[in-house]
Amino acid sequence: MAEGLDQIADALDIETFVIAEDEAEAIKAIRQIMTGMGLKDIDVVYCRHLGPGARIRARGYIFRAGDRYGWLGEGK
């Protein structure tokens, strides 16, 4: 896990505007970006494509319910 990620309460959202032909292309692009950042548990929260591209919010879960949360400082 990248340094600092364990301080995130649960998820890291990335919001942006992607120039893309359609919604599928925008989602593919944002997934590639987030995977490249080392995020694994990825979802697209919101995506709306109009005209030149898509307004998109993608999410990388760092912790889900039931995980051991890094920010608790367990073992430190």
Binding site: E15, T16, F17, I19, E21, E23, A24, I27, V44, C47, R48, L50, G51, P52, G53, R55
Partner: protein
């Protein structure tokens, strides 16, 4: 409708089924037979229902995200096992659904959040979905409206008449390098159109420019923060515009009201990025866009030429930059080029008109007090700019941004009405632009301690009591109420837009959700945030109105009385320029300083 379908609708969800209920109603109205199952049925029970009823279509919904893939995959497996896959058309929709997920799982259709009943009915009937009201394309918003420009307040009308006569007589005996350049520019444009040799005209033009601008014409040198766009960049931009235009289907922002039109400002510094932002704003429903030039452009004598990109806020005005932006606009988009504040005001109006702009922006008082231009120069140039606006049929707004410096609204409005009356007398069409803002005056006096409604409403009520003219609050609405937090910023913009709609104004200029962020350029995503917020605000209120408290009427009366008093003082002084210097339209103690740029450049003719 073709053949009536037999449609089974099943919420594969413990509780949620409202979407399917709405779709069922739509399907039955269209003549189809339906069965709607209650929430909580298992995949096997739904399969059994398809068989029993001999349904030819099944619509599944799923709102909860937990385990969605597993549940739906099991349903598709059972469908296959029952031998129904080839004869039953399947679709899944709901908050947890994305079209690509539906396709991966083998559904024929997938409908995410925001799907309409009509869209679902079209799927069942096997036809393409065309959104209602969008098939004919977006229409241009009619901004100026049917206003008489009659002054209802006769005392104010009389005072303005005296002030206008004085300004016109004074300005009629004077000219400036800005005016001379504008006339040369007109000749240069005509010369270029005829394919003539324009070198001598350019030489004359250069003589009237500042050092850096003159250097462009003499040696080809550029302003330090600018560079020329290369041929490859320009051809890529033109290709991008062509491709993007082909897939544009702008959203509608207004719900049931006809007004207001919604404008956004652009001015990223680069024509290419401007075009990108404009196309996004258009797609998300903006009715118009406003060209925002760099602040140094207002303080420099003259314009450069060519396709120039700029590394700071504001996009450089050149004939070519304006042309390439104009080319990129949808036919339905209104385009405003601001000319209100600096040494190139008349030429900007001229260029705007020649490039095909729909609107411009002129205010002598603001230009003199809030933008740093010498009042004498601004008055001479402003009058000529208004003459050009009248000649070319270019309506313009009279912005009152001096309020942001601390000038009280009644003084800013007095200045606005002086310019508006000048415009009316010269045959132009002014649009009043009061600010919807939490200005220094408001903060000091606590006018918005309780709400943001009353003082803004008072401004509109006061103006309506004075004159029949279009009103376009700006610029942007909600100025100094927005923070860097995008939800707060967007919501504030949306609520101010709702107030504007409730007050029945003609148009509004809105910020992006980056309005309060000053660390860098506005990002494209923040453009969509506020447009979406405005759309939601219009949807929320519909025809309902926002009711100001009785305080708004009291403040409107006070504003009107204050305006009349200011105009009386200006008229009595008999010298508009001196009145500006003396602080009658905003003084030093209020944060307004008569500008110095262009001082001593006005000469008698």
């Amino acid at each position: 409708m073709g053949v009536a379908k037999k449609v089974l609708l099943a919420p594969m969800d413990p509780v949620h089924d409202i979407g399917l209920k709405m779709i069922r109603r739509g399907l039955e109205e269209a003549g189809h037979t339906t069965w709607l199952y209650p929430p909580g049925y298992s995949p096997q029970e739904i399969i059994n229902g398809i068989i029993e009823n001999q349904a030819d279509t099944v619509l599944i919904s799923r709102t909860l995200g937990y385990g969605v893939e597993e549940v739906l995959a099991r349903f598709v497996d059972l469908l296959d096992a029952a031998g129904l896959r080839d004869r039953v058309k399947t679709a899944v929709g709901g908050m947890a659904i994305r079209p690509e997920l539906a396709a991966e799982l083998g559904f024929d259709g997938g409908f995410g959040p925001g799907t309409t009943v009509e869209e679902a009915v079209a799927f069942v009937e096997g036809r393409d979905y065309i959104p209602a009201g969008r098939a004919g394309g977006k229409q241009r918003y009619e901004l100026v409206g049917d206003y008489s420009y009659e002054f209802k307040n006769t005392a104010i009308r009389s005072l303005l008449g005296r002030i206008t006569a004085q300004i016109l007589a004074w300005a009629g005996e004077r000219t400036s390098p800005g005016i001379e350049r504008a006339y040369l520019r007109r000749q240069m444009l005509a010369c270029a159109k005829e394919g003539g040799n324009c070198a001598s005209l350019k030489k004359d033009y250069a003589r009237l420019c500042d050092g850096v601008i003159r250097g462009y014409y003499e040696t080809g040198g550029l302003h330090p923060q600018t560079r020329k766009l290369e041929a490859g960049e320009l051809s890529a931009l033109r290709r991008y515009v062509e491709q993007t235009k082909a897939k544009m289907d702008p959203a509608a922002l207004r719900h049931t009201r006809q007004k207001p039109g919604v404008f956004v400002q652009y001015g990223t510094g680069c024509p290419s990025l401007d075009v990108a932002h404009i196309k996004i704003a258009e797609a998300w429903g903006a009715d118009g866009v406003v060209h925002f030039d760099p602040s140094w452009g207002a303080r420099a004598e003259g314009f450069m030429e060519g396709y120039l990109t700029h590394q700071e806020d504001g996009s450089v005005i050149t004939p070519e930059n304006l042309s390439i932006i104009r080319e990129a606009l949808q036919d339905s988009t209104l385009w405003q080029v601001r000319a209100h504040r600096g040494l190139n005001t008349p030429e900007t109006v001229l260029l705007a008109a020649h490039t095909g702009a729909d609107l411009t922006k002129i205010n002598i008082a603001y230009g003199s007090l809030g933008a740093g231009t010498d009042p004498e120069r601004m008055t001479v140039d402003g009058v000529q700019a208004i003459r050009f606006a009248a000649e070319y049929g270019l309506p313009f707004d009279v912005v009152t941004n001096e309020e942001l410096s601390g000038v009280p609204a009644h003084k800013a409005f007095a200045g606005m009405l002086i310019v508006a009356d000048l415009a009316i007398s010269l045959g132009a069409r002014p649009i009043l632009q009061p600010l919807f803002c939490n200005s220094p005056e408001v903060m000091i006096n606590g006018y918005m301690a309780d709400n943001y409604v009353d003082f803004n409403a008072a401004k509109i009520l006061a103006l309506r009591n004075i004159v029949s003219a279009p009103v376009w609050p700006g610029a942007p609405i909600g100025f100094l109420t927005q923070t860097e937090e995008r939800v707060q910023s967007s919501m504030s913009t949306g609520l101010h837009a709702a107030l504007a709609a409730s007050l029945g104004v003609e148009a509004i200029s809105i910020a992006s959700s980056d309005e309060a962020y000053s660390g860098g350029p506005i990002a494209a995503a923040s453009r969509t945030d506020t447009l979406q917020a405005v759309k939601e605000a219009f949807r929320f209120f519909g025809q309902a109105t926002i009711l100001p408290t009785p305080t708004a009427s009291k403040w409107a009366q006070a504003l009107e009385a204050g305006i009349e008093q200011v105009l009386y003082s200006v008229a009595e002084m008999g010298d508009f320029v001196q009145a500006v210097h003396n602080g009658l339209l905003g003084g030093r103690e209020e944060g307004a300083y008569p500008g110095r740029v262009g001082r001593g450049t006005v000469r008698r003719v």
